[in-house]
Symmetry: C2
Subunit: 665 residues, 2 copies
């Protein structure tokens, strides 16, 4: 990695690209605004670096704006482009820049003074911090205002003359720029229509993604859009159509393969689904809003730790989700998403050990949790307040307006626990004690107020007296370890394995459900669900997983949602997160037991699940861990030390770079 | 005034133009950055209006960006340009817009729903507020990103072939775009040099304002710059040179005329000086930094109440000076300027009665004073803290690093008093009590800690034991009424009329000095000072008043400052404020005794000052007040009721529109 980087105000990069992506939604070609406050980067920059050198040093000062100036100590100001000699000794270099659009950034060639994260951001009396940077932008020719996607030309696999035009099929869900070339009417203007389904592209009055083509010299490239199908009405001219597939060039280091071809296919589609949604941040879906949502992102983070282990996208996503202080609303206006944000931060540390990021995000964590705390009831519980959207799940099994609901307190409790852990890391003893005490208090209240001794389960809420039991809170209780072992056993019997309790129907909440089922060892439920629910989408021809799947629906019914015939997103991150996460964490069985996989365990699932032989790789920041299971034989090979293979009651030390083979039968 | 206005986020207009002007400084053609945090407007806008109408109403939705959308209640989103019918009944219209450069603004044609200040800004959980607007932008064709200056073509009055080029003289200090036309080398590129003085324009290596001319089709118009002289080196082509004088089109309603032609000339130059500095806000000077500074602005506000009575520029200036919350530094990093900000707010109310503005600025007042309070010493006094620039005056008579200085506590005390008055207006009883108590406390400490019984005067500071006496604090004590009448009498004797105490030498502090002299009735000192100090600049050929004037200097020495041969600003607002303020408030003798001149007094100066007959007009929000004094006869004619003429011990009621003539001899 090169030392010199473009540098900017802390978070400016994430603010800018977050602003752009939240303002990019259209419907039928027209702008649809974001539903929450969108913060923008500052337009003035002040960075400085103090250093001492034994020899003089020549630096070259670049900025992405002419309104920029550099000075050494109290020297004259040097303009952008200057080559300046910094004398030997102790000096302070200051750089200012202003840019009205985009955001100001500077690039300083040099040795000691080369621009990088060691530069400081001057806040004029606030808290100075490290300059912002991103490792993608290390060349002078890089432009941090242009997000560094990769591009690959793709062609339709099929075309069809239909309905007064041509329908192109790219064979699978895609994302990128639609390219018209060789248009014989060189300045033609017309509209084209994209569809995630054939129906959507052809039903051009209703298709979400409309492209207003304006050719110049027989060519046109659209903005980036989601599509599998493109319908181009005849406009009386010849042309060729292709697309520049736009993607984040990260390596999918995680793998999974078994003897079950359906599970393999599900895994592959999940890989592709998460990949398409991995962009400036982890998106919810690529067609409709293309925004960053905290709940969707939470699952993407966890799935990502078993696929690309792309830490930078996790960091960018968390920064986009938080926005500027003061916090005036929950993440995406959703309290659960604020709590997931805090939980995500701690889990990020558990997987990566990236203390530097926790340090830079800790004040954001405090401001977000502080905001949430400021809105708690007198009882110290989360209760819906004006402007809040209590989500929990699309499936509305419980009365969300019935006072404080159990599931929300559980996320609050877990957020407090994670905040306490982060505070300990930051040596914020007072914070750690306070957050721990609050976690304990909320946990006690959950167990006192929501546990129903007759039903032997957590009820949704206590205000109405309905004593309704759904799966959500009970799943959280197991997943986040929020009650006694005795009560967990009761929950498994009375809720989890009780068909009378309404099933989880959304892929979003199935993530939590299947993880909980793995935690209690019911792996067969999990693989059965993969085969039936995700397999159901595969049977419907899905090339990416959907926002929601209802097996009873037929044909184009599947595409409707939110009162719109194509409102459903057919490439939704949360559709793909579950297979990746459960297969990596619970079937291959790999998880860190301390941060950065300094220690870890491999506990492959040895139950008979119809997978036959299976194997795969789990990425870590320090290397990969390979696991294969075949006919009762387990083999683990790891790039890193610190691991234990756990089989039955036995533990085996995993030596770095040394295959460990254990026969269980 | 038309009902429909362009509307935007509160303060977006001031943030935008404040950002632009603070980033516009150059030296020799290169960017010089601001010295403080510069805040920018948000790039996303959310406004709404709830109303009830008996009939349906058609509205037209305009925005300055295509990324804009409007909805009625929960309707579909309508794009920019839509004509929409709002049904009869109760409805809520929401508008969102995003713009990356500039700032988003919308314009809605309609009746009930026409865009204006009754629209609300939605803050997503913060404090919603009235939409921002400015009465200059009421036409659909207006562009709030372009500040609405007026322009007038002006020509050089003289040109001279010299030093390998041509020197143009516009006859007086000017501001605007330098225009090259009819350039025979149609794409010529060359540099031209401006000067406030002949010397500066000719000394092109050192002239502050350099113009990089790039002709297109034989024409070029520069950015707006300050100039009297322009030097154009020969570039081997023909051309004509002119300028578009750029100014704020406000009427100078205040006037002053006497039999003393020097005083008249001083008044006229002061009028011109303040006019040139009245721009997006009140500037310090038009050549060098062209920024908005709180101390300079404070004086401009007061002078403005006696000249154009341009309330909008006062409001814009206060908003530019404050910036966004949280406050992390003093106004311009100068604590005195923070205190002047608070004082200015109350004085603005006293002159205008504009309760609406006080309401919209009250939270800014609290955050600024709150910031200052957070930095007070344990004793509750202002003491210099890191990053602060303790200014008080250019003239460094006192040791600014010697602990808490007296002058600063006096401004703090006055700021608390004014804050208490604003709090009362806002019915913030708790705030009013707290601020009053703090004012009382600071006042007591000033009188206890800084009063020297031996010197019978306020000393600069008590920390060093030097017991040094300068004029500054003692002038504030009189001007802001901060001590007993007995002590004031002692100050007059021991400081004000004591030549052993170093004189005030800057035009900046002469403002406070001359106002204090008027308060104690020494008008002759004031007119003498006008004649000698301001008259001295006139004798040097000044066409506008200077940043600083030192009578002993000769020729081009006058132009040097800050270690630069032309560093001094020759058109500095604070050079012009004093004549306007003292002639209006103390010689014509007009001042409000309650807000908005609901009551006021006219107390013309009847002392023999060598002015002969004098007369003038003082503007108020409700009309003008004319005063003339000639040979012992006083005549007052006023557009407004509520006034009293005070002559000697006598009071006479001023009837609206009815000339009141009183003979005193």
């Amino acid at each position: 990695m090169k030392k010199t980087k473009w540098i900017w105000c802390p978070n400016a990069f994430e603010r800018y690209h977050g602003m752009k992506l939240h303002n990019r939604r259209t419907k039928g070609g027209f702008h649809i605004p974001p539903m929450w406050r969108v913060d923008a980067p500052g337009r003035n920059l002040f960075l400085y670096k103090k250093a001492e050198t034994e020899k003089e040093e020549t630096i070259v000062f670049h900025a992405n704006t002419q309104n920029a100036a550099l000075r050494i100590d109290h020297s004259e100001w040097y303009p952008e482009g200057s080559v300046v000699t910094v004398p030997a000794g102790k000096h302070m270099i200051k750089v200012n820049a202003h840019k009205e659009d985009g955001f100001p950034a500077v690039y300083i060639e040099g040795d000691t003074y080369a621009s990088d994260g060691s530069w400081r951001h001057g806040s004029y009396g606030g808290a100075d911090a490290h300059a912002g940077y991103n490792d993608m932008y290390t060349e002078l020719s890089d432009n941090p205002e242009v997000f560094k996607f990769a591009y690959k030309r793709i062609e339709p696999v099929k075309s069809e003359d239909v309905a007064g035009g041509t329908l192109y099929d790219f064979g699978k869900e895609s994302f990128g720029n639609i390219i018209f070339e060789g248009v014989s009417a060189k300045e033609a203007e017309f509209s084209a229509y994209c569809g995630e389904s054939r129906e959507e592209a052809l039903d051009y009055k209703n298709s979400i993604v409309k492209i207003n083509v304006k050719c110049e010299d027989g060519k046109y490239a659209s903005e980036s859009v989601a599509f599998r199908f493109v319908f181009v009405p005849d406009f009386g001219a010849e042309y060729t159509l292709a697309a520049d597939f736009e993607y984040l060039p990260v390596e999918n280091r995680g793998t999974f393969k078994s003897s079950d071809s359906l599970i393999n296919k599900i895994y592959d589609i999940a890989v592709y689904t998460l990949g398409l949604n991995s962009r400036e941040g982890f998106f919810d879906g690529i067609k409709r809003d293309r925004w960053v949502w905290g709940g969707d992102a939470y699952q993407s983070f966890l799935a990502n730790y078993y696929l690309a282990f792309d830490s930078d996208t996790v960091r960018r996503t968390l920064r986009i989700l938080h926005g500027d202080d003061p916090v005036t609303m929950h993440v995406n206006t959703i309290p659960d998403y604020s709590f997931y944000w805090v939980i995500s931060l701690w889990e990020y540390y558990c997987y990566t050990g990236d203390l530097k990021f926790i340090a830079s995000a800790y004040s954001d964590m405090r401001s977000l949790l502080g905001f949430a705390e400021g809105r708690l009831s007198k009882q110290g519980l989360y209760e819906k307040r004006g402007g809040d959207w209590v989500f929990v799940d699309w499936a509305e099994h419980f009365d969300k307006d019935a006072g404080p609901i159990c599931a929300e307190q559980m996320l609050l409790c877990r957020a407090y626990e994670c905040a306490a852990s982060c505070a300990e890391l930051m040596k914020d003893t007072e914070g750690a004690e306070r957050y721990s005490a609050r976690a304990k208090d909320v946990r006690e209240k959950i167990n006192a107020l929501y546990w129903d001794e007759e039903k032997r389960a957590f009820i949704d809420e206590f205000s109405t007296g309905n004593r309704n039991v759904t799966r959500h809170a009970n799943i959280f209780a197991i997943l986040y370890d929020l009650t006694t072992e005795e009560r967990k056993a009761a929950i498994i019997e009375n809720v989890i394995k009780n068909d009378a309790v309404p099933a989880i129907v959304t892929p979003y909440f199935k993530f939590f459900e299947l993880a909980a089922m793995c935690e209690i060892g019911d792996f067969a439920y999990v693989t059965d669900m993969l085969r039936s629910y995700w397999g159901g989408m595969v049977a419907e021809g899905a090339t990416t997983f959907w926002e929601k799947y209802e097996p009873d629906m037929k044909g184009a019914e599947h595409y409707a949602m939110y009162g719109h015939p194509y409102g459903k997103s057919l490439c939704h991150a949360w559709g793909g997160t579950t297979p990746l996460y459960v297969l990596g964490k619970y079937i291959l069985g790999v998880r860190p037991t301390s941060a950065n996989y300094e220690t870890y365990e491999v506990r492959p699932c040895m139950q008979e699940l119809g997978l036959g032989a299976f194997s795969g790789k789990v990425p870590t920041p320090r290397g990969d861990i390979e696991v294969s299971v075949s006919g009762g034989e387990v083999c683990v090979r790891s790039d890193i030390s610190g691991g234990k293979l756990i089989l039955g009651g036995e533990e085996y030390v995993i030596e770095k770079d040394t295959p460990l083979n254990i026969k269980t039968i």
